[in-house]
Amino acid sequence: MTDVRSNVVDFPLRRRGAPFPPREYDGLREREGLVRAHLPSGQPVWLVSRHEDVRALLTDPRISANPANAGFPKVARTGGVPTQEEIPGWFVGLDPPEHDRFRKVLIPEFSVPRIRRWRPTIQRTVHECVDELLASDGAADLVADFALPVPSRIICTILGVPHADRDFFESRTQTLVDLAGTTEAERAEAVRQLLRHINRLIAIKRKWPADDLISRILGTGVVSEEEMSGVVMLLLIAGHETTANNIALGVVTLLSNPQWIGDDRIVDELVRFHSVADLVAMRTAVADIEIGGQLIRAGEGVMPLIAAANHDSCAFEHPRDFDPGRSARGHVGFGFGVHQCLGQNLVRAEMECVYRTLFERVPNLHLTRPVAELPFKYDGTLFGLHSLPVGW
């Protein structure tokens, strides 16, 4: 057991203008045991940075994802996990066995065979979004005008949101993810409007069930209407900003590594390489547990650092190189354990389709600002781009 209390780091380590993942992560992995850190609120937390330790942590039943438990970290201004009292049905904040009721009923909607059946719809939607992008005059913001609309429209289709309501959902979710251009009050209002709209949608699907996710889940009787509202909100938000950040960062990376365009192996390597969900998997210990040679006591918060694990040279050789030729599948970019991303097969299908279609149809796509000047996200839970000015 190592006492590292004398050497506490301030967290998060992400700094404006500095490379991501932060260089400091290399140092964290090399330290014995785990590293003690202070969050901006002063809350103490353990940082877990080695690939092996992150996997061990995320599969241990003594580690909880429930924000109602003592010590649960609150890392950033936004993107915290609401409790069941705040938003019932926000199941990523539940542990087994309560969590399993939601996961079991939802996972068939996102299985490999089911997503395969969605591929023509995904392709059609991506074509539509490229059409709209090309309708503007040779320049656009690839985040607002493409990377956000693609996952938004696809999840709306899967959920069964009527066509007439798509623009409303798309604009409200854009407000939620726009940390640079909106106030906290505006985002809170967007959440209220979304929940109101979702509740109305659920009432309609209850009365007139259709062939869509909301109707099917309600039909199982496993999830209450009140919980369904939280589930829909979660699905809408979870698949939206993460995917958009991946799409936008992926375009930047592929433009400087064009030899890989068209290769199907790029998707998992991009998810590993960018690790946009670095700070998403917050946890707390509900019993004493030893991880990476460090005793974590019950009630102490833990941050498994997704980007640190994905850039651990013990798991991935030359981790800072973008190399789709490597076997990147063992990355924890979608998390690990029972909470591993429910929508990962949808994300893979969306990303594959996006890059193939975008570079095929817009072969002279290019950035209109140098990479170093791009507005990267340093302030939210997720890493990504606030905007991405492109031309063609």
């Binding site: 599969t59 490999v112 076997s327 599948r329 063992g330 998390g335 591993q340 097969n345």
Partner: protein, 64 residues
């Protein structure tokens, strides 16, 4: 080599299907199913990797 998949543990992520589609599949409930419980030696690397990737540790390889 014999393999078993524990549907009690399976969380339906589908990693195994992507890794070794000739051995693993997902049923209508997204739970893991096996095309065969005795894949040939040629599939050993893919099956081991599928077991390693499974986020729920639901796949076991038996050497009998």
């Amino acid at each position: 080599m014999r393999i078993s998949a524990n549907t009690g543990r399976c969380v339906g992520a589908g990693q195994c299907v992507l890794q070794a589609p000739e051995v693993f599949d997902q049923d209508e409930d997204a739970m893991v199913t096996l095309h065969t419980d005795r894949p040939g030696e040629a599939a050993r690397a893919a099956v081991s990797e599928a077991a390693n990737l499974c986020p729920a540790g639901a796949i076991t390889i038996h050497e009998d």
